[in-house]
Amino acid sequence: MSQLDRYFDTLATRGLPVWPEIAVGENSYEPGYVYTFEAADVTAFFGIVLHRVADVAGMRFALKCVVASEDPALLKISAPDGQRVEGDDGFLSTGLVTCGSQTLGAYREWLCDQDGNWLMVRRIEGGGSVLPFGQIVIQGVPVVIQGVPLVNTVPAPLALRQPPRPVIPAVIVPRARPVVPPPGPSLPEVIELEDAFDDDSLMNALGEKLRMAQTLRAMLDAVLYFPFTLRTTSVDSASFESIGVLRLDATLFGADFVLTAELEVSASGQSVELQLYDLTAAAVVATLTSSSTTTENQTALVVLPLAGHLYDVRLRRVGGAPGELVSCRSVALRR
């Protein structure tokens, strides 16, 4: 059995996490944590929050004094309703019990049994310096100015302030073995394969084989379709009203695009105009028109600048009467 066997398992189940903030004042605290506190010259009262015994059986609760007081007072703890807690005298009590004084370094830890008794299982008396934490001392003499101790305000050790971090078990796995070619006759350094597509008809004027480029272009053409996001599809305004925008950089695709739109009007005698407007350049790019009362595809070739521009599609009713809508069901730029 290795020395490390179960090492991490043990760690993972040993730790009682430290609550990330220093406990202050008379309060009730959740079990399952170590609570750090500052000593004071008045009795400190800690209560354990009530939970069902079934939930807290086997759970711990601990207190640790991390900041000293010149005149530390008593430390008291109370059990949750219906449960009992052990004091320093070893007796279980349903009320308040004394568990030492608030001496720097004092530590008490309780473990709850199946009957709701919080049994004391760790006890350290502390008894360290009674000087305030960080008290500045020169040649053994604490520095006090007008009765106020001069204290370095560096916070308490970080380990006591950081939230508990989970222990991640480590597993050592075998190093991957290199692939070794099987023994046998020596292999050639390269394998020659015949190019079944070596066809001069695929060569361009410069002698370059185009089949791959053409295949890629066909694939790209299939996806070079840039629809506008429309906020509405119908208007009855006689002046152009913006219905959607699209930002497009034609650099990667080339300047030549087709503006394609599905247009219709609601009544005979009126028409719809769709305008592609370059907001970046502040210029009209193209206009499509339809007078069809059924959806009709209209297209126009457009040349776009090879830069990122924001385009607007605008719609208006020509003829007809207010309230009679004209529509653009979809509009896109495609290659």
Partner: protein, 127 residues
């Protein structure tokens, strides 16, 4: 993070607490905390012998949690071939304690079968 979130998940009990409460001499299996109800006779607890591979890293603890009129003795006998550490740091075959209410001892077994004392509460005067 909510105050109660993960509360019970990250507080895995370090050591189970045996259901039985000791009120007389007994043979007990390591790996648990045994509660002892103090009586008017001496108690002897004999730890069950298990293989080293099984008990390595295992814990064992006793807690006297109810009092008697008088304080009697409590002897913990180590498993056969293994040793227990007493409060003086000596490895011995058995440890003499008392049934003083509040008393607590906890041991952790190393790979050689030595039960090292890692928890020790002696009830005393309130500070």
């Amino acid at each position: 993070m909510g105050f109660l979130e993960g509360l019970f998940e990250d507080t895995v009990p370090e050591m189970p607490i045996a259901d039985e409460i000791i009120t007389a001499d007994a043979v007990v299996a390591p790996g648990s905390l045994y509660r002892i109800a103090a009586g008017d006779v001496d108690y002897t607890l004999t730890m069950q012998t298990l293989s080293l591979a099984t008990v390595s890293n295992m814990r064992f603890a006793v807690k006297v949690y109810s009092s008697a009129e008088s304080v009697f003795g409590l002897t913990i006998v180590a498993p056969s071939g293994q040793l227990l550490e007493d409060v003086a740091g000596e490895l011995v075959a058995s440890v003499e304690l008392t049934q003083l209410v509040g008393l607590y001892r906890e041991w952790l077994c190393d790979a050689e079968g030595n039960w090292m004392l890692v928890g020790n509460v002696d009830p005393g005067e309130v500070a």
